[in-house]
């Protein structure tokens, strides 16, 4: 038998880390009933894989190999050290866990459920949003603390403390390791979708620093959205979120020019958009719209898809986009949505009408400090020829923007207005 080269094994392990981490950890956490102990066993299993796969070849089902290895370690650990399970006990449904251990391995459906258990535990509403995001990256995606700290521009000790605190809260308050009951599910799922969406937007528009797209976070969030769709195939909002991420990401390459400058939608090179990704997303959106009254993410995806669908910016179906925004405001009455609606509204009813709408929203305290409000206002003012008011609004937007690419874009617009 041909032994795989070292690089090949390293790639296989890295790929299994990306693809199978959640699967392996979720199954192992049932045995250890402790997230820290489970993480340790899974990490050990990945280290063991480097050596074993180099000697025996890469297994056909790396996830199953890693799960077996991690669970063996967990069972050894339990036999050796009973205190292991007493420290931060995870509230596993005892009967189901014992059955899984007795059976030696889970059926496919049970393993699927296990990943969902892990996701819902990480995104439990009793945990703060920051903690939910950090735990999801750590436990579901398998990122280490340093990587997560870097993604959110905080120090490693700060992030480590945040993760420890969250794990401790899970254990001491007895947040159960289970899928919410049907009655709670819609609300709990909204929390999970919000975490995935936040990860994507954080990666897509890095809150500070030089690079506009933090590719890794974008990929991780899309992977999570895909996983959720796979685990909850009947949920249209999960599919809507995935479609929204795909549409947004399909334009990734053109969001900035060669010099790193931010480009507006109307200035982007549409020929470089990923058309096959856009077509795939559109099919998903149409399916969701047919399935029943659309929720927030399906509508957001439909709007993004409609923007991307036009062969040229000028040919965008503005009235249809305004209509979708009206529907979106019904299901999600957010001032940010109302603000974004002003953009297509300007194309349908003229910049004057849109400006009146933006000025009405200026009074909303939830939008104070929101950089896109003065940016949109500035654009409308300059279209109306009110240059000094536009310059003033650009200055305000510039002061609020943290991302370098966005700041230089705004500075440029300011220079034009002045």
């Amino acid at each position: 038998m041909q032994m795989p080269a070292n690089d090949e094994v390293r790639d296989a392990v890295a790929q299994a880390h990306r693809r199978e981490w959640a699967f392996v950890l979720a199954a192992t956490a049932r045995v250890t009933r402790d997230l820290d102990a489970a993480e340790e066993c899974v990490q050990d299993a990945y280290v063991a894989a480097l050596d074993a796969w180099a000697r025996q070849g890469v297994p056909r089902n790396p996830g199953a190999w890693l799960t077996t290895a991690a669970r063996h370690r967990a069972l050894d650990g339990l036999r050796r050290d009973r205190t292991l399970r007493a420290k931060l006990p995870l509230l596993v449904d005892a009967e189901a866990a014992d059955q899984a251990i007795l059976a030696g391995q889970d059926g496919d459906d049970v393993i699927g459920d296990d990943r969902l258990r892990l996701i819902f535990t990480c995104c439990h509403p009793a945990l703060g949003r920051e903690a939910q995001v950090a735990l999801t990256l750590r436990l579901v995606c398998g990122l280490n603390t340093a990587e997560i700290a870097q993604a959110f521009v905080v120090s490693e000790p700060t992030m480590a403390a945040r993760i420890t605190r969250a794990k401790k809260k899970i254990a001491t308050t007895r947040i159960p390791y289970r899928i919410p009951s049907p009655g709670e599910l819609p609300e709990r799922l909204r929390g999970v979708l919000a975490v995935i969406h936040l990860l994507f937007t954080t990666g897509h528009t890095a809150p500070s620093g030089g690079s506009l797209v933090r590719t890794d976070l974008v990929e991780r969030s899309m992977h999570l959205a895909r996983m959720l769709c796979e685990l909850m195939p009947d949920d249209t909002e999960a599919r809507g979120l995935l479609a929204l991420l795909i549409v947004t990401d399909a334009r990734r390459a053109t969001r900035a020019g060669a010099d790193g400058r931010l480009l507006r939608l109307k200035d982007q090179d549409r020929s470089r958009w990923d058309r096959s990704a856009l077509a795939g997303a559109e099919a998903m959106i149409v399916g969701c719209l047919r399935a029943g009254p659309p929720g927030r993410y399906v509508l957001q995806a439909a709007i993004a898809s409609l923007y991307a669908d036009a062969p040229a910016y000028e040919e965008t179906d503005w009235p249809q986009i305004v209509a979708l925004y009206d529907k979106l405001l019904e299901v999600w009455p957010s001032p940010v949505v109302a603000l974004n609606r002003a953009v297509p509204l300007a194309m349908v009813a003229g910049p004057e009408t849109a400006l009146a709408e933006v000025e009405r929203l200026e009074g909303d305290p939830r939008l104070s400090g929101y950089q896109y409000l003065p940016a949109i206002k500035a654009d409308l003012l300059s279209r109306l020829g009110r240059t000094s008011a536009a310059a003033e609004a650009y200055r305000r937007a510039f002061a609020l923007a943290a991302n370098e690419a966005e700041r230089s874009f705004l500075a440029e617009q300011l220079a034009i207005a002045e």
Partner: protein, 114 residues
């Protein structure tokens, strides 16, 4: 089952302004709550209502002062101790706890059993 405290925080002005009617309604609501906890599979194992913060005396070190420990818009006005399976169950129960002039906080009771 684990023990949780449900701490009731409310604006005292609600009851002061609402007079007897507010008290009567609260009394009935708490009576209903006791029944609902059982229906949800939980159990109330303790709890009481507290006199308003105007009756509070705070002691820090050697110093005794008139008034609550911290002045807040919504003050601790009562609590329950309940038995629940897990946090989700405790939240489900706490959601039913009457607090028309504020809200409630759920905290696990520390297991100090040796």
């Amino acid at each position: 089952m684990a023990k949780y405290a449900i701490l009731i925080y409310e604006a005292e002005s609600g009851y002061a302004d609402g007079g007897e009617e507010a008290w009567k309604q609260a009394g009935e609501a708490h009576g209903r709550f006791a029944g609902q906890v059982g229906e949800k599979g939980g159990q109330i194992v303790g709890g009481d209502a507290l006199e308003p913060t105007a009756t509070a005396t705070s002691i820090r070190g050697d110093i005794v002062t008139d008034g609550p420990f911290a002045e807040t818009k919504e003050a601790l006005g009562g609590f329950y101790l309940v038995e629940a399976r897990d946090l989700d169950h405790a939240i489900e129960i706490a959601r039913l706890c009457p607090a028309p002039f504020g809200g409630v906080e759920v905290r696990p009771v520390m297991d100090t059993g040796m």
